[in-house]
Amino acid sequence: MNGGPALVSIMRQGSTLIASVHTALDDSELVRFEHDLIHQIGEHRSRGVIIDVAALDVIDSFAALTLRRIAEMARLRGALTVLVGIQPEVAFTMVRLGMGTGQVPTALDLEEGLALLAAHPGAGTDSTERDARPGSTP
């Protein structure tokens, strides 16, 4: 995101990228975020990606789809994406709306997300074992 106050920050920690969304994003900003993040995943050959959405007070269908798409593109580039920080009200509303996160694993917060990635040394391989992935939505 170039220019203006950062809407999203993307940090690198080892082979993991941590993307924190700081404020509500409109659709075009979400798409820009998607491109930036995918670009960086490829550039850094990241194995894990954490997207922190704690600051989002609304995750509507477009936002949910975009997050899913990011995770899918990341997977194709060999990185496992974990969504962290979905707020209680947002979680319930997403479900009512009919939006899950698909196969994208979720964790309570950044710390949990990092722990989840750490438990997956092969993060990015197509792991579908459910019990070892708390929070994944079948």
Partner: protein
């Protein structure tokens, strides 16, 4: 030059309503000294004077500063032309009222004849006379704006729509499909602005134009803020914001332009109502659009069916070629479940 200034002036009135009111007040103040037959001509002259004095008014610059930049340093000849046009606009407006309408309005406002007396004379009821007076005032505001703008109305429907908007009569607005018309008729959309100024001051109702991505975020924010004045649970606020987000996106994606009106309700219960309308292509098959397995974008069966699940009431009306209106409501929770 004159056209440009006149154009600016219509939007720059404190409101057309104020002007009409001020005119009548002055006429009323002088009525004791006026001979009966002179009342109407006097009203017209007064109207002109009111407009003129508005321009001489020491505080007019302060009042209009934020709107008419090009008049803040008036060059006199042009101002004088504007002045004349203003005066004749009010005179024209009064003249365009029906003979009986005008007489009743002036008798009520100027002579102070009460509605009971007027009703008795006309063989009507006081309520009916009061309603008629409101319609006349609404009409006068419209005629004033039209005359000031020297506008040619493009369709037969325009005048009825403007009068319904001016009177704030919501039932009539629905009858003449006013909201729809404003999306289709550029002239009425512009003319209705000074007429709607009163309506816009209501603080339990918000109208948000929706044309681009950022509007989706502002609309849902505004809706959440308005809803938070009621006793909604945190989850419900998120639900409302999310539903607004979805319907706004449909406007931006499929219609390009439209609006969202968010309103707090008191009856039959406390709640919040969201009306999203556009003048877009419409939805040919609504049943299919509400089917969970169908969506025109993304192909994942989202959007409208999900919104319907989020809200307590949900209705959609769509006419191919004329746009779509979604009306949805969330009620404040009752305590006994």
């Amino acid at each position: 030059m004159v056209r440009r200034i006149v154009h600016a002036r219509v939007g720059s009135h404190p409101s057309a309503e104020d002007l009409v009111q001020e005119t009548l007040t002055r006429v009323l103040a002088a009525s004791a000294t006026i001979e009966p037959g002179m009342l109407e001509p006097y009203a017209i002259v007064t109207a002109r004077n009111v407009v003129a004095s508005m321009w001489r008014d020491a505080d007019r610059r302060r009042r209009n500063q934020h709107r008419v930049v090009d008049l803040s340093t008036p060059d006199l000849p042009d101002s004088q032309v504007v002045l004349d046009e203003e005066q004749s606009a009010m005179a024209t407006a009064l003249a365009r009222l029906g003979e009986r309408e005008r007489r009743t309005l002036l008798e009520h406002e100027v002579s102070g004849t009460d509605t009971h007396t007027l009703a008795a004379r006309a063989g009507s009821t006081a309520g009916a006379v009061a309603a008629q007076l409101n319609r006349t005032r609404a009409r006068l505001r419209v005629e004033y704006v039209l005359a000031a703008e020297q506008a040619e109305l493009p369709t037969d429907q325009c005048r009825a729509v403007l009068i319904a908007l001016s009177g704030g009569d919501q039932r009539r607005q629905r009858e003449v499909r006013a909201a729809q018309h404003l999306l289709e008729c550029e002239l009425c959309a512009r003319l209705s602005e000074p007429l709607l100024e009163r309506g816009q001051q209501r603080d339990d109702r918000l109208r948000i134009p929706v044309t681009a991505d950022p509007d989706i975020v502002s609309a849902r924010r505004a809706a959440r803020e308005l809803a938070s004045r009621l006793d909604f649970a945190a989850t419900d606020l998120t639900v409302i914001a999310t539903a607004v987000s979805e319907v706004c996106r449909n406007i931006v994606r499929f219609a390009g332009t439209g609006e969202v009106v968010v309103e707090l309700l008191e009856v039959p219960r406390r709640g919040i109502q969201v009306v999203a309308r556009d003048g877009g292509p419409g939805i040919p098959d609504i049943d299919r659009a509400l089917d969970d397995g169908f969506s025109t974008y993304g192909g994942l069966g989202l959007g409208l069916p999900g919104v319907r699940r989020l809200m307590d009431e949900f209705a959609i009306a769509s006419e191919p070629g004329h746009g779509t209106t979604v009306t949805m409501t969330k009620w404040e929770r009752t305590h006994d479940g």
